[in-house]
């Protein structure tokens, strides 16, 4: 692996390698001294063309725990806002001595373009490109799902290393059309053997979704009910509904109608609470990439429910990003 650009082109082997390395990295984060020397002397640049404090500090924490030097380059208030091209910006960072560029960009494909260009030799990590992909988010979601799924079946003391998500059924609910998180999750969950259901109004599903390896549900209630084989979902991943889609976007009539039909309301939370992970007695899971819109896609009760793994996702995000930077910059494979 030279870059991490998307989960669509991530092999099962590489995905498991990242997840297994992330398990090791979690151990570091649990220690009193949360630091490894592996990237001492290496420089990681967080190049953010779009605001995202959460993702940036997660990558920053990951790089620092590996002893890398970190530079944060925010496109706002920099020469970029004065019209500097991506090419010139990246060549400047290369000249400063960056080894890896972690890039968040509003344009779909920006990370792929950077990796394909001869503008830089840096390793490129896609930290979200437009409405295309956000691979580290999907990897941290997979880490969160795998831990619980494995522990439910084999007990909490067994390491989930080397295992995938075979047998798991995951719903992704909300604005699939504009979601890079959804796209990355669909490909990665599929690669890891999970079954994926999408739940959304047709206006928020892309034309072409019929070719994806997913089941589409227009009704959240039907998606939560047992399927023809009597199986129910093991996890529901709620996507943030962005305000601009509601105001004048015309994708659905009102926020209230969206919530009634596609929100995780208290009633649907009660349904989810009755669901179990596979054949086990462990409860089903609720995931949210954050930040949550309480009262829109999730009710307050759902947000505060013990089913909600949003905070686990945040801490797993650091582990996954440590694993990615470690694997890309050392060429090592800990598995």
């Amino acid at each position: 692996m030279r870059h991490l650009l998307s989960t669509a082109d991530l092999s099962r082997e590489d995905a498991l390698s990242i997840l297994d390395t992330a398990e090791e990295m979690s151990g570091v984060s649990a220690r009193e001294v949360k630091k490894l020397p592996t990237l001492r002397g290496r420089t990681v640049v967080n190049l953010f063309f779009e605001d995202s404090t959460r993702t940036r500090i997660s990558f920053e924490a990951a790089a620092k725990r590996l002893s890398a030097d970190v530079m944060n380059f925010s496109a706002k208030g920099s020469s970029v806002s004065k019209g500097e091209s991506l090419k010139d910006t990246v060549q400047t960072l290369e000249a400063i001595g960056a080894d890896a560029v972690v890039m968040r960009h509003w344009a779909s494909g920006a990370a792929a373009q950077l990796a394909a260009s001869d503008w830089t030799d840096c390793a490129v990590v896609n930290a979200g490109d437009g409405t295309h992909e956000h691979p580290t988010q999907a990897l941290l979601d997979a880490l969160t799902l795998r831990r619980r799924w494995h522990a439910a079946h084999h007990g909490p003391d067994q390491s989930p290393r080397g295992t995938d998500l075979s047998g798991m059924k995951v719903l992704i609910v909300g604005d699939i059309l504009h979601s890079r998180v959804a796209r990355s999750n669909i490909w990665l969950l599929n690669t890891l053997g999970a079954e994926v259901g999408l739940v959304a109004p047709a206006t928020l599903l892309p034309v072409g979704v019929e070719t994806w390896p997913v089941t589409v549900h227009y009704s959240f209630d039907e998606a939560l009910a047992p399927d023809s084989a009597g199986r129910t979902p093991d996890a529901a991943m709620m996507l943030r509904v962005q305000a601009e889609r509601m105001v004048g976007g015309g994708f659905f009539p009102t926020a209230a109608e969206y919530t009634r039909r596609w929100g995780l309301t208290d009633e649907r939370l009660a349904t989810l609470e009755r669901l179990r992970l596979g054949e086990t007695d462990c409860p089903a899971m609720l995931l949210h990439p954050g930040p949550m819109n309480r009262g829109v896609e999730v009710s307050s009760a759902a947000a505060d429910s013990p089913l909600n793994h949003a905070l686990d996702q945040v801490s797993h995000g650091v582990s996954v990003r440590m694993a990615v930077l470690h694997l890309l910059l050392t060429g090592a494979d800990d598995s």
Binding site: S108, G208, T211
Partner: protein, 447 residues
Amino acid sequence: MTAPANPALLVTGARPYGEEPQDLLISEGRIAAVGTEADGQAEQLRAQGTEVETIEAEGQIALPGLVDLHTHLREPGREDAETVATGSRAAALGGFTAVHAMANSSPVADTAGVVEQVHRLGLDAGYTEVYPVGAVTVGLAGEKLAELGAMAESSAQVRMFSDDGHCVHNPVLMRRALEYVKAFDGFIAQHAQEPALTGWDTDTPAQMNEGCVSAELGLPGWPAVAEEAIIARDVLLAQHVGSRLHICHVSTQGSVEIIRWAKERDIDVTAEVTPHHLILTDELVRSYDPVYKVNPPLRTEADVHALRAGLADGTIDVIGTDHAPHPTEAKECEWSQAAMGMTGLETALSVVQMTMVETGLIDWRRVAEITSAKPAEIYRHAHQGRPLAAGEAANLILLNPEASRTVDPAQHASKGRNSPFRGMELPGQVRTTVLNGRAVVREGALV
């Protein structure tokens, strides 16, 4: 003192329309004779002391000079992208003896002054005939008719009007335009794109064909229906008011079907397809390389095959290059920021050979129709697109169909380096271009 006249040209061994070899004698701007008569007359000319140059063209195909109804020459305003002179050279190398320069220059070609300027620049360059296309609406803004009559009466004698790059989407304005140009036997060339369905004038304008690939890439889609809905509306409008309508760069299977339907009803509509839509698909966008960004966008394999079939059966009338040069920086950026358009003048005939002739869909006679005779007829040119016959104006080319080349945009005469065929192996090479009796390209190079 008068300038020395162009020498007469005796073309030997070339195969008109790819058929039996016939010699051609070109003298005083016309095809003087064809076949054995050509050699006899050449002897006579020589005997009279007239210079006769011989062009040995064994194995080459003679075709009427190509006529492009859809070219962007960028001048005035974007001379960094192309000028009338550089675009004319590219045209000559591609075998075009006439090009029609779209109106989206800066200032827009919406007045007699601008079209006369472009026309004059074409005459000055002298490598191809340049016919400016007039804007339908002032500033291409789609709100108010431009002075179409003034452009028609100007020295540029404009007959073709188009807001290309923008759709004349207001149905009343489109109707009025179709009606108004009847006064001077003009026609409207529509860029069929329903703006609201393609997010025009929003923060998220359509970026590529809407379908399986756009779904994965997370780029806003440009649905086929946005083109087809306008074509359906406009053929009905053309029928209603009895006017001539030309559809620019048809790109979808559905559009071909609607145009076929309209022609069956004798609606006076003609249609054009670009070379790139005959071969490239939206799968190329997976690279996010903006060289593949174009409007209308690259479509699917099924569309490509429907366009080829439509061109073969006459539903689609002409090849239009939509040659759209851009400076490097307009393509060396994020996909969504990149300019739309591809160069095409210097690769068009090769792509037609590859996709239409070598596939057995059409012969060289039909190539001459779609690249020359028909576009000239649509514009009502009297001396372009004429048969290779004695007495006709000598606008013709000689093509070596056996040649093969790897496309290198850096070698192109166009200023644009944005060829989507970069690195591709394409067949055929224009060896000679004769413009009104004068060779402007010899041995595949500008004279």
